[in-house]
């Protein structure tokens, strides 16, 4: 789940292997943890292997939103499996002509897990709490105020038009939270959350597992599922298994029903197992090389382009991802609103690997191989740069391939594997050359979040006023066509300046076994559990 790009995987850690993995931390009473030895058959529990133990289940306090905490809450709007916007808790919505006021009509007869009714006033309270305490409130846009005009009508007023808001709503970031319960429980709300989702909280074993039970009141399932009522399964158990081998083995052994984000090199193996169902969806983000654009070397666009031109994306995808991905040359993934085929084609033309051109660019910048050691040099110094990589196997593999590719252009690449925390820290302090990074978000507004000047401070340190203008306009423009046009222009600038090197889009592979009716909404990246039944 890459719902919040700023937190995608930052908990990924020192050890890609298994740090947060594992099962229970309780010692004595294991009674509440359903027996999973026979894949939960006896207790009617769906067991999901999950990578990330969310920091908190309180939607307004979390910096990470995924199935693990997001399924507790039901969004106001959603998309169906073809990408069409469909009602969620809001029957319908309307945007005022000036684009500054969004009006939602809340469905009747909906209750939070506590039994508290969901009214327009309650949703307003939820918005207010979000705007007050959420560490990531910046992402919801310039909201001025929220008001409930009657039982069912909710109005969200913006100071400026903010088109990406539709995707904020769909992402679940502003789904209604039971603020009444939150007030009663105070800090304890995170341990006893209440929303309107199909599952409700049962038990948590930090670092090990999260157990949910079905919401018996639930009857507001989305249009595209057969079962709009309560789930068929009684419980959903997320087991936090960080280590790839561990989760693979657990799955193969049959102790897990749903293996999300299957390690690329294991997909073929799983496909050959009987009874295993594989689903693939394209990720809503890309992996890229981030340059330090303020670095003495990479402030020169020729060097950035030289690097970009020495990269061959096919082996990256084929070897590092075992083919489960797609090379990407332009800034946006095809799954993101704002993606343009024209841009992608142009980018492909500009940046398909060309070592000769790369060498030429280096030579133009004064870098040539004078001592015939295969590495270009200037003033007696070889061109040696460091790339920061987090310890995900696919990343470290990719880095090694990049290393050999850049070498052919005469660039010596040193790989440093560090924790994401440290990498981000070094990036924001500009003490880096290059880093292998990623983002994930539903809307082209991601470019604003990465490149707009205040954001660029903590990222690639690349600023272009024209780009800022375009990215601001993109937020305010109300028609989709207009927005697409604006983002095309913005992407053109990025292509020419090459402040980064987009590499690939992941194909997210989910393997299931011993269950039926499991789905994955590729537009929202949420699991569809409504129709899931366990095999007998």
């Amino acid at each position: 789940m890459k719902k919040s790009w700023w937190k995608t995987g930052p908990l990924s850690v020192l050890l890609a292997t298994a740090v947060i993995a594992g099962c229970s931390s309780q010692t004595a009473n294991q009674t509440t943890q359903p027996k999973t030895d026979e894949a939960g058959k006896t207790s009617n529990t769906l067991v999901v292997s999950s990578l990330i133990d969310p920091d908190t289940l309180d939607l307004h306090k979390t910096t990470w939103l995924g199935n693990e905490n997001g399924l507790l809450y039901e969004p106001l709007l959603s998309r169906d499996t073809s990408g069409k916007i469909i009602p969620g808790l809001a029957e319908k919505y309307e945007i005022s002509p000036d684009g500054k006021t969004w009006t939602f009509t809340i469905r009747k007869n909906i209750r939070f897990h506590t039994g508290n009714p969901v009214t327009a006033a309650a949703v307003k309270e939820s918005f207010d709490r979000m705007l007050e305490i959420s560490p990531v409130k910046g992402i919801v846009g310039p909201i001025e105020k929220v008001e409930a005009t009657d039982e069912q009508t909710l109005k969200v007023h913006f100071s400026k038009p903010f088109s990406p808001f539709i995707n904020v709503v769909i992402s679940g970031m502003v789904s209604p939270v039971d603020t009444k319960a939150a007030k009663e429980l105070g800090d304890g709300f995170g341990d006893k959350p209440s929303g309107t989702g199909p599952i409700q909280f049962e038990k948590r074993e930090r670092g090990a597992s999260l157990l949910f039970k079905k919401n018996p009141e639930y009857n507001w399932g989305p249009e595209y599922v057969a079962n709009k009522g309560p789930l068929h399964i009684d419980n959903v158990l997320f087991r936090f298994l960080k280590d790839d081998d561990t989760r693979m083995m657990e799955f193969k052994k049959g102790t897990i029903h749903v293996l999300h984000d299957v390690p690329a090199n294991s997909v073929a193996e799983l496909q050959s197992l009987p009874g295993v169902d594989i689903q693939k969806t394209m990720d809503i983000g890309i992996k890229y090389i981030a340059f330090n654009n303020k670095h003495p070397l990479f402030s020169d666009v020729r060097l950035r382009k030289a690097v970009a031109l020495s990269v061959d994306r096919d082996p990256l995808v084929q070897v590092a991802l075992n083919g489960f991905g797609k090379p990407i040359y332009g800034p946006l993934a095809p799954t993101i609103f704002g993606y343009s085929e024209a841009i992608e084609n142009k980018a492909k033309q500009m940046y398909t690997r060309n070592v000769a051109e790369s060498k030429q660019l280096l030579a133009d910048a004064g870098w040539t191989d004078t001592n015939n050691d295969g590495i270009v040099d200037k003033d007696g110094k070889p061109l040696s740069v460091e790339i920061l990589v987090s310890q995900q196997p696919a990343f470290t593999r990719a880095a090694q391939i990049l290393q050999s590719q850049l070498r052919e252009a005469g660039i010596d690449l040193k790989i440093t594997v560090q924790e994401m925390t440290t990498i981000k820290d070094r990036i924001s302090k500009k003490s880096y050359d290059m880093a292998l990074m990623y983002y994930g978000w539903y809307d082209a507004d991601i470019l604003f979040l990465i490149f707009e000047k205040s954001n660029a401070e903590s990222r690639m340190h690349y600023t272009r006023p024209e780009l800022d203008d375009l990215l601001n306009k993109g937020r305010e423009a109300s028609s989709e066509e207009e927005r697409i046009r604006i983002y095309e222009q913005a992407q053109e600038i990025l292509l020419n300046d090459s402040p980064w090197v987009p590499l690939w889009v992941n194909e997210v592979v989910t393997a299931t076994r011993g269950i039926k009716g499991f789905g994955l909404n590729s537009y929202t990246q949420y699991f569809i559990l409504n129709d899931v039944t366990l095999d007998k």
Partner: protein, 306 residues
């Protein structure tokens, strides 16, 4: 005896004070700003500076240390920056696993190590002896993470006898305990053998034999109690360091013990947790060593502390 314990406790306090300084400095030298880390990178600068104030990070270093020490003295190990759980709570949930793992592996290691070491000593210079000596060296030399891998592969996956990862009851701890126990068993076997060889030469062994004691009684009743004294010390020290976290093994087996908690906290830059955890480990380690010394005086009547 009491005076000895008091003396030891006082010197322990000195060490712990040093440890607290060391940990504090180290944790503060670790790159990465906890405030940004908590708030996520999308937080506004004001929010970050507010958070820094709230965390006391804007104070001079010595003041922060004094605060840390003061809280330690009142038994407050701090609170996680991320989960809001107190470090103590985290320890309470995680420590039992580590403790069980430590006990389990020390038991395995002690049983096998002492048995093999004794057999080797009794059969000195025979094939059995050479085999035990080599086996124990292999146990010491083989990397734990490597052994763990194959134990998992064979016993948990291929034969499906144990859970692959995580804690599902005491039997989940068998493979990790074996992994940990291998090296320890090797060390224990070597020490038992050496110690037993020394003991066998002693006059009192001949006395016992002259009394008509059987071989079994000679070894287990007369020899072992003497030979085991240095071994017990070693076992105790191992136990101490195990309780302080079998980092690699907990990681490989995805066990939620305090070793993996500490590493996790380091990687998340959860400074209070790191500080509290490491301090706790040092405390446990030191206390076990003290207890080992006291046990030592119980099993060797010649030793008296006053």
């Amino acid at each position: 005896m009491r005076r000895y314990v008091v003396k030891r406790l006082i010197s322990l306090l000195g060490t712990l004070l040093g440890v607290s300084v060391l940990i504090f400095l180290m944790v503060h030298l670790i790159p990465g700003d906890p405030a940004t880390q908590i708030l996520g990178q999308f937080a506004t600068p004001e929010a970050i500076s507010q958070m820094r104030t709230a965390l006391g990070l804007d104070q001079p270093l010595w003041q922060q240390y004094v605060g840390f020490l003061g809280r330690l003295l009142t038994g407050d190990l701090g609170t996680s920056l991320f989960t809001g759980e107190s470090v103590w709570e985290q320890i309470v949930t995680r420590f039992p696993i580590t403790l069980q793992l430590a006990i389990f592996s020390v038991l395995i290691a002690a049983i096998f190590g002492i048995l093999l070491g004794t057999i080797a000593a009794v059969k000195q210079n025979t094939l059995v002896d050479r085999f035990v000596v080599l086996l124990s060296l292999v146990g010491i030399s083989a990397p734990g993470f490597w052994i763990a891998l194959f134990l998992i592969w064979i016993f948990a996956y291929k034969l499906a006898l144990f859970p692959i990862s995580g804690y599902e009851g005491v039997h989940s701890l068998l493979l990790p305990a074996i992994t940990l126990g291998m090296a320890e068993a090797g060390m224990i076997a070597r020490m038992t053998r050496a110690s037993m060889l020394e003991v066998i030469k002693q006059d009192y062994m001949r006395t016992a034999e002259a009394k008509g004691a059987s071989l079994v009684s000679l070894i287990f009743s007369h020899g072992l109690p003497n030979a085991i004294i240095p071994v017990v010390t070693m076992i105790g020290l191992q136990f101490g360091s195990l309780m302080a976290g079998a980092v690699v093994v907990e990681t490989v087996f995805s066990l939620q013990g305090i070793g993996s908690l500490a590493i996790e906290a380091i990687s998340k830059r959860d400074m209070p947790t790191v500080q509290g955890m490491v301090f706790f480990m040092a405390l446990i380690f030191a206390l076990t060593n003290l207890i080992v010394d006291l046990i030592y005086s119980r099993i060797d009547p010649r030793i008296h502390f006053d």
